[in-house]
Amino acid sequence: MTELSVRLAVSLAQIAAVMGVVMLTVMILTLAERKVLGWMQDRMGPMEVGPYGVLQPIADGLKLFFKEDIVPAGANKFMFTLAPILAMVPALIGFAVIPFGPGQTFEFFGISVKPFVISDINIGILYILAFTSIGAYGIILGGWASNSKYSLLGGLRSAAQVISYELNVGLAIVGVLILAGSLSLVKIAEAQSGGFWHWYVFAFPAPQIFAFVVYVISAVAETNRVPFDLPEAESELVAGFFTEYSGMRFAFFFIAEYANMVLVSCIAAVMFLGGWNAPYPGTILAQVGLPQVAWAENIAWFTVKTYAFLFLFFWLRATLPRLRYDQLMKFGWKVMLPIALANIVVTSIAVYFFRG
């Protein structure tokens, strides 16, 4: 076997594993969201399929798969088909650079591979930001191609929302990049090892707590979640940009939204909450004499952080009403943007003085 074919096989295996985990997470999320919302609102959530409704995602999937797939008469067929793909692919593609576990290398058939990150490129975060912006095209085109006024309004709102908040996401993580001195997510995560006081939310010269808050709010807006779910706004716009979509096309938008949630949660965990690092120095497994499987503990921590973040999404949704359109823009441009910019200035100054 040549080295190239081994590398290809390993990469494909990694991609398959990550896709599998992401899809599984999306399935879990669709159920978990309804359950958590139900519990918070003194309801039960799905209860019919399987014990306590745990098989509901499978039932939903089957239903969507066998539903009639309708293209509205006046729709632009090509764009109508392209939009869900354009929404979903960028959401999934971002996972290629997320480090799910330590960046250590393993020997495999004579070549060294990093098993817990598909591709450790040195512009990782830039790559993700670039691709997630493309996801907005899916939504806007979906709204436009449906030839429905409601969908178009949903798409337009999404466009406005994306330019207001994409910017803040980018600016919020600049502070972290200054501290880490790298754009590679693996390096950023490694730089935060050694206890929770090294995480960039709390890190010494310039704690990124404000940037974290800005990032969280912008991430919620980026993924079109309550209270920023204006592109959907099912109480105002029927169902927003995907009003005209049915069957698997609708499912694509749906999966894209949830995959985006997982993605921004992963980025939040990596950039601000130490990634796969435990909140204490080192790992317990290494201390009890099992350093070979210490990565399992790291992956567990990464999972915990990501899911905690996802829970926050549900929690916010159960609590907050939707923002008005002008409030949303005002908040993004007049509050979040100055905070993010000020954070960059303060971080730069702090790093300059304390690190020399």
């Binding site: 519990w39 918070m40 003194d42 309801r43 609590t319």
Partner: protein, 192 residues
């Protein structure tokens, strides 16, 4: 413009406190605490409907039904008062003479278009002989709207299954009331 509080109300804090509350999202945190407390003390108030059902109050206004006397005869005398009382024109009564008894009438045909009924109970109030009743039935979802256009037989069947205990005939309940064409054992017959 002075910012002094003029009317009584919730205590006004200093502007610093207000400002601090704004920047730490105080109101949102309060709301999130509330939702979290519901999650931690989870007591669902919903009913798993098809599997468990609520006990309905006795005065529940469900599906309408026509009733019978305990000897099986229909109560309705075809007086049309229900039709007149109904605000949404649900009811249509076609009344006719009871054959052989020229002073007695009954409803030959009786239709109710339940798609329009608003379950106000006016028809039940209006009926002079209590021939109409409201049952506790509410599971009347159908696939075809026409199935909700009920005829007399259907309405009587609903009444039969919902009111197993039936009243005696009116003339046997109220012995002093004069009824035509009814032979009263305790009233002397008119001489011819």
């Amino acid at each position: 413009m002075s910012t002094a509080p003029t009317q009584p109300g919730p205590k006004r804090h200093s502007r610093l406190v207000e400002w601090l509350k704004t920047i730490v999202f105080y109101e949102i945190l309060v709301g999130m605490k509330a939702t979290m407390s519901h999650l931690l003390r989870y007591r669902p108030i919903t009913v798993q409907y098809p599997h468990e059902k609520r006990a309905l109050p006795d005065n529940y206004r469900g599906m309408l039904a026509l009733l019978r006397y305990d000897d099986g005869t229909e109560k309705c005398v075809g007086c049309d008062l229900c039709e007149a009382a109904c605000p949404s024109r649900v009811i249509r009564v076609v009344s006719a003479e009871v054959p052989g008894e020229p002073t007695k009438r009954y409803s030959k045909e009786y239709y109710m278009d339940m798609t329009r009924c608003l379950f106000c109970g006016m028809c039940v109030e209006a009926c002079p002989v209590d021939a109409l009743g409201m049952t506790q039935e509410f599971e009347w979802a159908v696939y075809d709207k026409r199935q909700l256009y009920l005829n007399k037989q259907q309405l009587l069947a609903i009444g039969d299954r919902s009111f197993p205990v039936r009243e005696k005939r009116l003339e046997l309940q109220h012995r002093n009331v004069a009824f035509f064409n009814v032979s009263f054992s305790h009233v002397p017959q008119k001489p011819n």
